[in-house]
């Protein structure tokens, strides 16, 4: 099975974010691979190990973090890595999807995998938008797959552990939430070796034309208190307040 995995760099969730106008202050922001994409890559590698074929990873941009991400994917077992665009500005999910679709078209892939979501997808989920662009069927929130001939059995999680199985005819796009196994570890030395493998290709892609057709008019950090709001008084007062809080949380 020939598999494409779409990887995205997102702001490192451990970083404290700061706002600059209607965007993040990106000057000193660190980027990491979107954690769901890491699972998508793992699932892709597992499928490849079962069925044979290839895994090609795609990512947008040429930042060091992107390069690092792709080298890591190669070290883990991806066959080829493609870095899209040299001068791409930060683009929204629609723009990312358009770019990926352009790169994937004609690639002859049986399966396109990406993380089910990313923390910056304010205008939709890239994996699903790519499916629409390619005209492939799609399933999101996939927590496991079992490849067959010409199709793939996928497990989609609804909520609270309730899952549903589907047979999906290929080619298809899957938004992966969790791989069957935890994403594998790859030693730093192997990533360094992948850097020298020359399996990373840079493709020039035009800035996408169609955006999300929405504008961010304001961005802010949600108000946050310093630690807990302490309840004063005896246990009766405490219980009064806790009952209110349970109500407010919608569980009472």
């Amino acid at each position: 099975m020939n598999i494409a995995v779409l990887l995205r760099a997102v702001p490192d969730p451990v970083e404290e974010l700061e706002i600059d106008g209607v965007d993040l202050d990106r000057d000193f922001l660190g980027y990491v691979l979107n954690e769901f994409d890491d699972h998508a890559l793992e699932e892709g590698l597992l499928i490849k190990e079962e069925t044979g074929g290839t895994v090609t990873v795609y990512a947008l941009g040429t930042a060091d973090e992107v390069e690092q991400m792709l080298h890591t994917a190669l070290a883990k077992g991806a066959d080829t890595a493609k870095m899209l665009g040299s001068d791409l500005d930060v683009v929204d999910a629609h723009g990312q999807a358009e770019t990926f679709v352009e790169a994937l078209t004609g690639g002859g892939f049986d399966l396109v995998l990406s993380g089910v979501q990313a923390s910056d997808e304010i205008d939709g989920q890239v994996a699903m938008l790519v499916a629409a662009g390619l005209g492939f069927p799609h399933v999101s929130v996939v927590v496991g797959t079992k490849p067959a001939d010409g199709s793939i059995r996928v497990t989609k999680e609804y909520w609270a552990g309730i899952t549903a199985d589907y047979d999906v005819a290929l080619p298809a796009v899957l938004g992966i939430q969790t791989a069957r196994e935890a994403p594998r570890y790859v030693a730093v030395a192997r990533i360094r070796q992948a850097q020298e493998s020359g399996n990373l290709e840079e493709l020039d892609i035009d800035q996408p034309e169609n955006g999300s057709r929405m504008t961010i008019t304001e961005m802010r950090l949600p108000e946050e208190g310093e630690g807990a709001e302490m309840i004063e008084g005896d246990e009766e007062a405490a219980v009064d307040r806790v009952l209110e809080l349970l109500q407010a949380a919608g569980v009472r």
């Binding site: 999910a93 304010i122 499916a131 399933v139 497990t155 999906v168 949600p222 307040r241 806790v242 809080l245």
Partner: protein, 319 residues
């Protein structure tokens, strides 16, 4: 019509989800702004029977067909997309859930409408706008839609589900149920294995720590959990003592949980524990030590004796 609000009805095993009712509540307030009607589209086998539960809508579009027994990411999406195509609503609301994700993106992409995701609130006062949550909730953004129509994927809690339940008799309209050949075939659903409680999927967790002091007191905590309809979880020392099974451990070597309410009782808050629960929506901590680190991550805290607190809360819940 061009000022209507169309709501996707999410249902499983004959039950309409709370997320749907929240959408209906949101739709109702939007309809007041646009002057349109609230339309609810319910798709799948047995859809007609669900119409009774959709009083919050003005009009219920029923696509009851055996061809779409259970939810089908492709079938439901295409059916809903064709309704959006024929009805041309100003605002289409889908829940930001596993099901809604398949629907919303497909509809937005095929109808060429903008999609506002991670949405906390929608406003139709001055064009279409919304407030979204980004970067795992660390940032909020206000967006203005540059189109007359849009799809909004709403996060849970954007409105009260109860508000969406109320309402009078709605008009029921059966719609064309022709289903094209599908590339996706539904096989079946599976519930999590019975056995011990899965604390990662519980809405409320009562978590106990060293402050519970002895195994005998576990019973008291369990009684509180029962009264709350919650599951009992614990920090590592409790598991180590063998007072609760490993499946109940929250933290580094246990499970990460994100319940709606995390009630931490007698947990001082070692970093290994905090790691596993800090993303809970509401954290309420009770600890005798006002300096306990747990109060650093809790949203609400009470510094006092948990053996005063537990029976008081249990009594009030039961009484």
């Amino acid at each position: 019509m061009a000022n209507d609000i169309l709501v996707f009805v999410e249902h499983l095993n004959g039950d309409i989800t709370d997320a749907t009712y929240e959408l209906l509540a949101t739709a109702r307030s939007l309809a007041a702004q646009t002057g349109g009607s609230v339309d609810a589209a319910v798709i799948g086998t047995g859809a007609s029977a669900l119409a009774d539960d959709l009083g919050g809508a003005d009009r219920i579009l029923v696509a009851d067909t055996d061809a779409l027994g259970a939810f089908n990411p492709q079938g439901h999406a295409e059916m809903f997309a064709s309704l959006v195509e024929t009805r041309q609503p100003a605002i289409t609301l889908v829940p930001y859930t596993s099901v809604g994700m398949d629907i919303g993106n497909h509809v937005a992409a095929t109808s060429g409408q903008p999609l506002v995701s991670y949405c906390l609130s929608v406003d139709a006062g001055d064009g279409l706008s919304g407030t979204c949550q980004l970067y795992s909730g660390k940032v909020q953004a206000d967006v203005q839609v540059e189109a007359d129509r849009a799809v909004f994927a709403m996060l849970a809690g954007a409105a009260s589900a109860d508000d969406g339940r109320s309402g009078g008799a709605a008009v029921i309209e059966n719609v064309d149920t022709a289903v094209p050949d599908l590339a996706i075939t539904f096989i079946g659903t599976a519930e999590p294995e019975a056995g011990d409680v899965d604390i990662t999927t519980e809405d409320i967790l009562v978590a106990i720590g060293r402050g519970i002091e002895s195994e005998d007191n576990i019973e008291e905590a369990q009684a509180l959990a029962d009264a709350l309809g919650a599951a009992l979880a614990a920090s590592r020392p409790i598991i180590d003592q063998g007072w609760l099974p490993k499946t109940r451990q929250v933290g580094k070597s246990g499970l990460s949980v994100k319940p709606k309410v995390y009630l931490a009782l007698g947990i001082s808050g070692a970093p290994e524990h905090l790691e596993g629960m800090r993303d809970s929506s509401t954290i309420i901590a009770v600890n005798s030590d006002p300096q306990a680190p747990i109060f650093g991550v809790a949203h609400y805290g009470w510094a006092g004796d948990l053996f005063d607190f537990i029976p008081e809360l249990t009594d009030r819940l039961e009484g």
